[in-house]
């Protein structure tokens, strides 16, 4: 058995030991993972899916398509000069002696921040993923668009490594084509070497019966910069753990999140940023718009360790409740073990501003349209930081379609 298999076996026994998270775990206080137990049993057959017209078709990008957790080379287009392959391919080509590096990707320990059984299960059962390795000083000239299409359970594990001063833009997109119950379990592990820079967008648009469990792990070296945009529109239950380690001087991260929810959707993001080195910066901005009986959970934790002097950390979380039955639970946490820091966080829950509504209405905008515009503006602030306009437009349209009475003013968005 090679190292990779060993690691996966270890992960499996770890999962068998800890099982699914339960509500007694403080990190799962508001999200009931017990309903995932049935989903783990589902055993689907690998059916082909026609992906024509799905996803961001006009996006000028390199593509990697995963259908039910398996890489579909025929529908993908990848650059020749850059090292981007599917994990399964890599695994089969790597010799046992060289498997050490790859084995690291499958290593799970119970001490990791926000550890839970599902991440061990992912390492144990992941069927495929993207393995991306950018050489030092290389710049990926087009975004890498990773499209996940599923109609059954799928387990995906991506590993991306950006060499020194490498730059890239990665978009992960999750769609499901069936309205059945199923579970996606996706882990993305990222390493940013000195001076590397990555913009990472993650758009989750799975079906209303789907459950989506994700974990994004980022390790940042000196002066690297990481930007995350997490957009949650779909799924019945979606949980993302975002773990960033600013491990060397001058690293910075910006984490942006947007949830637009309705019906009985439940979305939970736990973010954890560890400042372990001096002069690092973390900025976090999460917004939620909740309608119907939806329930959003945001838990943002920033830990400033001893020695992480001159830390600059800002966290803000804004929540708009549109319906009587919606619920938000938010918890912006700070844990600080160093005195030379500048840390702030803020959270708000509220409604649209009466004055702003009045302003628009007095200029002849109907009440619904005024509400819609203001809601949109509230949500869009998070997206404004996206550098790719095609992606941004796509998300805006998808998010907009979820708001009530969006027909009248959709034109304002432009093409």
């Amino acid at each position: 058995m090679n190292l990779v298999e060993e690691r996966r076996q270890e992960a499996l026994s770890l999962f068998e030991k800890v099982g699914l998270p339960n509500k007694r775990d403080e990190n799962w206080k508001y999200t009931d993972a017990s309903r995932l137990a049935d989903l783990l049993e589902i055993d689907g057959s690998n059916t082909a899916i026609n992906i024509e017209g799905l996803g961001m078709v006009d996006l000028d990008a390199y593509r990697m398509v995963f259908i039910n957790g398996a890489f579909d080379a025929a529908q993908s287009s990848l650059p020749d000069e850059v090292n981007i392959v599917s994990l399964a391919t890599l695994q089969s080509s790597v010799s046992d002696d060289d498997s050490q590096a790859l084995a690291k990707l499958f290593q799970v320990s119970g001490d990791e921040p926000l550890f839970n059984g599902l991440m061990a299960l992912n390492a144990a059962t992941a069927s495929d993923g993207a393995a991306v390795c950018l050489a030092d000083n290389s710049v990926l000239n087009k975004p890498l668009y990773i499209l996940h299409v599923s109609n059954q359970n799928n387990v995906i594990r991506h590993g991306l490594m950006l060499g020194e001063h490498a730059q890239a833009q990665v978009i992960e997109h999750f769609i499901s084509t069936a309205e059945n119950k199923a579970l996606s379990n996706c882990v993305t592990a990222l390493i940013l070497k000195n001076g590397a820079s990555l913009e990472h967008s993650r758009l989750q648009q799975e079906g209303k019966q789907q459950s989506h469990i994700a974990r994004v792990e980022v390790k940042q070296c000196r002066d690297s910069s990481y930007t995350f945009h997490g957009v949650e529109l779909g799924a019945s239950l979606s949980r993302t753990d975002l773990v960033v380690n600013l491990s060397e001087q001058g690293a910075s991260c910006a984490l942006n999140g947007l949830f637009v929810l309705d019906g009985r959707q439940h979305v939970d993001h736990h973010t954890r940023v560890d400042h372990t080195a001096p002069h690092c910066t973390s900025h976090e901005n999460y917004r939620t718009v909740l309608d119907g009986r939806s329930h959003a959970v945001f838990n943002g934790k920033v830990v400033v360790h001893e020695g992480a002097s001159k830390t600059d950390s800002v966290q803000s979380n804004g929540n708009l409740l549109l319906s009587k039955h919606a619920e938000i639970d938010t918890k912006p946490e700070l844990e600080i073990y160093n005195d030379d820091v500048k840390c702030a966080h803020g959270a708000t829950v509220g409604q649209l501003d009466d004055k702003q509504l009045f302003y628009l209405r007095s200029r002849g905008v109907s009440e619904e349209a005024a509400q819609e515009l203001l809601t949109f503006a509230f949500a869009d602030e998070v997206l404004a930081k996206m550098s790719n306009t095609t992606v941004r437009r796509y998300i805006e349209k998808a998010a907009f379609a979820k708001l009530p009475h969006s027909e009248g003013i959709e034109g304002l968005l432009g093409e």
């Binding site: 409740l321 600080i336 820091v341 840390c343 708000t348």
Partner: protein, 485 residues
């Protein structure tokens, strides 16, 4: 060294000649906790049957509970069988005979706080001081007492209330903090020995700040104290517990319960100054202060405010909470917590909005120095029916020194779309530019830090009764002494 019981004794003797003195003369129970011990405590207190049953039920439930470990504090497990749950105050002959015999450190602190000499002797438990001499205490106290009686206010030790006013006690005791609420509350229910009972009748504005009265009596000390304050419709009372002067106390574990019941249109202001022994600079010794405090705004337009200045105790575990049931009721929480050396504090508040148009304000200022760890842990919950509920939270932490920690764990749960909530928190150290500005104008470094720290805490000190605000300022200076530079 003076114990709180001694002070109680000095005052209790004069004040509560009927009920209190008998207690003092009873024996000390050996360490350990069992139903017999509880029966014994109840018997010493000459409590009625129902009270004993209540205690025993709490005790039986306590046996099934586990000590909570979620707070961000670290201490060796407590052996509940090694504690003596009832000890009669030591005889006053044990006390020092004059101030010359008192620990000079303690005297220095009194001096800095600006406590008059007579009061110093009293606080240090010097034996030959006639209680009358303590800043006119008895005459003042007696005047106060008659004034209170005239207004219909009941203010007495809770053990007395259990006998004298069983109806009121039965109706309200445990109605805000039920015996099964948490580990320490259950323990308190089983073994509490004393505390205060206040009842303000309908429409009565308590004629004086009970704080003023209280300061003289300082009776609110004891290991497992239980306080119950009831403000009937339209009543008003301001109450202060504790004292800025450091109280040396040999009891390691304090598990108090404070319950406030506020009916329609009533208002209660509750202020705490806590300066118990924090242990030495290596974290040896010191009080464990595990307190459950909760206010229940039962009527419409009821108001409550908690103000606390926490500088003492080795470990503090305390979350004064407000349940805002009545429509238009309001809760406020103002807190300054200072931790130095090896102190640990996990403190904050809970605001539970249930009624319409309920409002809450939270201002929490934490100062952490040395190797201390401090956490703000708060919950703001807006229930389904809390239409137009409003909350504003601000919690700021100031760090002095690179080995201390300050943490924030605010829980926010909102289930009503018309609710509005704002939460802000910052953590920083004193800016070099601020220090430079002050020093450039001739202040010493320490003076500059004191001024900045006092400014940082001003929002909270403004809420304290005036004379305490002044002392609280000085207290901060003393607490932070040596942690600058």
């Amino acid at each position: 060294m003076a114990t709180n019981e001694e002070i109680q004794e000095h005052l209790g003797e004069r004040e509560y000649e009927a009920g209190f003195v008998t207690d003092i003369e009873s024996e000390t129970l050996p360490p350990g906790l069992s139903e017999d011990v509880i029966r014994h405590i109840s018997a010493i207190k000459q409590e009625p049957e129902w009270m004993l049953d209540w205690r025993l039920e709490a005790y039986r439930h306590w046996l099934t509970m586990e000590e909570p470990t979620w707070a961000a504090v670290d201490y060796a497990p407590t052996d509940y069988q090694s504690i003596s749950y009832y000890s009669a105050p030591k005889s006053k002959d044990d006390g020092p005979e004059s101030l010359d015999e008192v620990d000079p450190e303690l005297l220095k602190t009194y001096e800095k706080l600006g406590i008059p000499l007579r009061e110093q002797e009293f606080l240090a438990g010097v034996t030959n001081v006639a209680v009358d001499a303590v800043f006119d205490s008895v005459s003042v106290a007696t005047t106060f007492k008659s004034k209170l009686t005239e207004a219909g206010v009941i203010f007495c030790p809770i053990s007395e209330a259990i006998i004298e006013y069983p109806e009121l006690v039965k109706q309200y005791l445990g109605s805000v903090v039920p015996p099964k609420d948490n580990f320490f509350a259950a323990l308190n229910c089983a073994v509490f020995t004393d505390g205060s009972f206040v009842y303000i009748p309908k429409g009565v504005r308590c004629p004086m700040e009970l704080s003023t009265y209280f300061r003289i009596n300082a009776l609110n000390t004891g290991q497992f104290e239980r306080t119950l304050i009831i403000a009937d419709e339209g009543a008003y009372v301001s109450y202060l517990e504790g004292c800025t002067a450091p109280m040396r106390d040999e009891n390691q574990l304090h598990a108090a319960v404070v319950e406030l019941v506020i009916l329609a249109d009533a208002e209660v202001k509750y202020a705490t100054v806590q300066n118990w022994y924090p242990g030495d600079e290596n974290g040896v010794g010191g009080i464990y202060n595990f307190v459950t405090k909760r206010a229940d705004c039962r009527g419409n337009r009821a108001k409550v405010s908690w103000t606390q200045v926490e500088t003492g105790s080795a470990i503090t575990w305390k979350y004064p909470s407000c349940i805002l049931q009545g429509d238009d009721s309001a809760g406020k929480f103002f807190s300054v917590a200072v931790t130095t050396n090896c102190q640990q504090a996990d403190t904050g508040t809970k605001m539970i909005h249930l009624g319409k148009n309920t409002k809450s304000t939270i201002i929490s200022k934490g100062i952490s120095a040395g190797r201390a760890q401090q956490s703000y842990r708060g919950l703001v919950r807006m229930g389904k029916n809390a239409e137009h509920a409003r909350n504003y939270t601000q919690c700021d932490s100031l760090l002095l020194g690179d080995k201390c920690g300050a943490h924030t764990f605010p829980y926010v749960e909102v289930k009503n779309p018309t609710a509005t909530l704002e939460h802000e928190a910052t953590t920083s150290k004193i800016g070099d530019d601020q220090l430079f500005y002050c020093q450039q104008r001739g202040l010493s470094e320490e003076g500059a830090v004191n001024m900045i720290v006092n400014g940082f805490c001003k929002d909270v000190f403004d809420e304290l009764p005036m004379e305490f605000a002044v002392e609280a300022n000085r207290l901060m200076e003393i607490s932070l002494e040596g942690s600058v530079g």
